[in-house]
Amino acid sequence: MTKEHETKGIKSRFSMFGLKVFVILILVSLVMTACGGSTTTPTATVGTSATEITPTEAPTDGGADATVRFGWLGAPDTLNPAYAFLSESWTIFHLIYSTLTTQAIDGSYVGLLAKDWSVSEDGLTWTYHLKEGFKWHNGEPFTADQLAWAINAIMKDPEGWATVANYAAGFLEVTAPDANTLVIVTEYPIGNMDYRTSFLYAFYPPDFENFTTAEELQNYPNDQAIGTGAFILNTFNKDSGVVLLDANKDYAYGAPKIAGIIFQTFDNGDAMVQALKVGDVDALTSVPASAYETVQGYANVKAMTTDNTYFYELIINSVDPNNDPAPTGNPALADPAVRLAMAYSLNKQDLVDIVMQGLAAPGDSIIAPAMGGGFWHDPNMKDIPFDTAMANSTLEDAGYTLGSDGVRSKGDLRLEFRLQFPSTTPVYARVADMMVDWFKQAGIKITPQSMDEDSLIAATTPTGDYDLVIWAWEPDPDPDFILSVMTTDQFVDGGWSDSGYHNPEYDQLYLDQQQLVDKTARQQAIWKMQEMVFNDMPYIVLFYEDLLQAYRTDRFTGFIESPLGIEATESLLNVTPVK
């Protein structure tokens, strides 16, 4: 409308026509809303889209009452193990598929498909004896050659099986000498084989046999997945993200005592927490830290905290000055005294108490105590305490004198740094604010800057265009991944290294530990690596975030609290309805 519309009306030449139009408009709108739509639409593209599938059968035995309803903030992106990016997908995979080994709640690895296994002297041949009694969800018996086919498929097409290919890296040959034995031969000894096999899902070969290109494979929705796990996929509604699983009565370790599981996606923490409060859901896989205390107070709800491996860190630019392009970090950051002073300036307990509402633990190593049940964390590390006086004297002794503007400098070097952080959650901003104050007391000036994650990635890897960054990691259960973040090789486009840490001794140890099958030897190597990182400080680990979960006590009992979460198979197999 370009003309100023008149509020003065039109004269009476305007007949009842106008009124009729008005009425028609109202009627049309009413009709539209009444015939409105479903949350799925009839005009959706035809195909194997999950929106067309209706539940084939309702859960039996107690019906909907015995179905555990979980609420979470995310949703699976796809149920195709070849190409699933989001952790919610992997939660589902662990429930519907079985793997040779799996992590137990104490952090060790136990057999799942395998009842026992051994490795040859040279560390290159792994022999697994499978447990009897596994059946596919469609009733067919499960045999070792089917798992061999699955792993071979991944090995042959690592590009197509993008998100699982790493787990089969270094495998040479996988065979099934008989129906209950699987043999894996590797190129080099693999130190974390149990962890690898815990992510190699036994998916149903006929579903994946006929793809000729990687793209075809990746576009396959797999929304009628067949596995051998404790639960059977009933439906996955892509529009709403809802996943419905039924109990597998013929599960090799005994049928679950619940009828099924529903995973429900919520868009916001308040809504999810409210749903738990009123009983719309039975459990939450993750409670937002700022709502935790309130959730604890709800009637008939049990909330719990568990140690976790997720951590927040302060990244200090450690990029090689000879890098191309040259890093723009303040050269003062290369001085170990400056790093030490920064460590002294940080009050990690305060961060835990205030920003995380007490639901975290101050951190020291990039490998949290919770990883692998405490096996990998180096207990010999003594964290730098919060001591502003020490921070100041360290800097003073190193020659950084306090200027009249409150900022220390030494010759050309001035202790003024940019502090960048992602704009994704308010936690980073809170942490940054507190850091500004602490560093100021040591004579270090910080300018905080919130950035899009994308821009932050571009600024760190492999450009080194920053001074300090606050970020976080959610490592895999085995230390290998988080250790790789510190290797020189990962400081490439698309790589994981944001700090640019380059220590050839560390890199060598990384390669070494990959091939140490003897757990104690591997542990020693990994301890050494942690100490290197701790001393050189490319990261100052701030705190480990607790795993916060909650469930209603009036509906189900038997949830097992552990770093694996109450949604782990081991826990869900133990859950029974409250009578």
């Binding site: 509020t7 305007f14 009124l19 479903s38 290919a165 529009d239 916001n268």
Partner: protein, 325 residues
């Protein structure tokens, strides 16, 4: 100018506007430095450098921007193919369609209620001019304009859920997710109440003002005396004539309002986690899912442009003065 020329000019302008939208859309996301793929993947440990490259190829991000990507894209959009959402890994048009009705219901209901209530209140306010009711209505209108949409939403959300047990999110309860909305109307109504209330409060002010000024004008007309002489009651006279008077501006306001209503929908759907286009837009923004963002923007912009064109058409049809000159 005559009606035909006017319409042609408006049509031409609409087409140009749509083209401008296309160009903005395209330029904004394709000439960015930095890597759009990284924003979706973030620090997802499952995606190695090789997979990222494969993703880039899949989304055509490795081709030169001009002319390949530009022409490709315009051609696609014209055909209704809005690409694939990176974060949802589904065709954008499919995702948009699945949320479209939810927003239409919310906006439609909110507007209808705003119109009905606004018209009635306007009538009363104009009729009882300068009384407490009138002043109250005007004040309300004024203050409502100054209230941020999302803030009103938060307050109603907090009050509604704490004191009245209204749900805090979603279109339906978790138990009813995925069912056709027709079958769960009471649940839907329960969830729609607070968001619709928010929209209605914010928009009824304008309609009220139109109706009120229309009343005031009618009151000063001569034919009122004639009508009363004929024996009609005050009420009937006012209603029939004032309504007719207000009809045109109200109808055009509906179309004009579409632009604001979309903004309102974005805020309200975010606050109430209502699964419509508004929330989708906001989520796409946060996740930096550019195909989805672009597709949603095109859909929203084109809808508003068409609605405005329709309003113009309607205006020329309804407004006798545009016939000649």
């Amino acid at each position: 100018m005559n009606r035909r020329d006017y319409l042609l000019r408006r049509l031409g302008l609409s087409v140009v506007t749509i083209l401008v939208v296309f160009v903005i859309n395209f330029l904004l996301f394709r000439v960015l430095p930095g890597d759009p793929i990284r924003s979706v993947i973030g620090r997802n440990i499952r995606i190695s450098a090789e997979t990222q490259q494969a993703l880039r190829e899949q989304f055509g991000l490795d081709k030169p921007v001009f002319p390949d990507q530009l022409l490709d894209t315009f051609g696609q959009w014209a055909r209704g193919n809005l690409g694939i959402s990176w974060s949802l890994r589904r065709p954008v048009s499919e995702v948009l369609m699945s949320k479209l009705w939810n927003t239409v219901i919310l906006i439609g209901l909110g507007q209808i209620l705003a119109i009905i209530l606004g018209v009635i209140l306007g009538l009363l306010a104009g009729w009882k001019r300068k009384t407490a009711l009138d002043v109250g209505a005007l004040t309300f209108s004024l203050v409502a304009w100054a209230i941020p949409t999302f803030w009103l939403g938060i307050i109603l959300l907090a009050a509604g859920s704490t004191w009245f047990g209204f749900p805090t999110a979603g279109i339906v309860s978790p138990a009813n997710t995925g069912k056709p909305l027709i079958t769960v109307l009471p649940d839907l109504a329960h969830h729609l109440f607070l968001p619709t209330l928010t929209l209605t409060i914010l928009y009824l002010g304008e309609y009220m003002l139109i109706m009120r000024s229309s009343i005031l004008e009618v009151l000063s007309e001569d034919y009122i005396l004639t009508a009363k002489a004929k024996g009609l009651s005050d009420w009937q006279v006012l209603w029939r004539h004032a309504l007719r008077n207000a009809m045109l501006p109200i109808v055009t306001l509906i179309a004009l309002n579409l632009g604001f209503t979309i903004a309102g929908a974005i805020y309200i759907e975010t606050v109430f986690s209502y699964d419509g286009l508004g929330k989708l837009f906001q989520t796409a923004l946060t996740k930096q899912d550019y195909p989805l963002l672009q597709g949603a923007f095109i859909l929203l912009a084109v809808s508003v442009i068409i609605a405005n064109l329709a309003a113009d058409l309607l205006y020329t049809v309804l407004d006798p003065r545009v016939k000649e000159s």
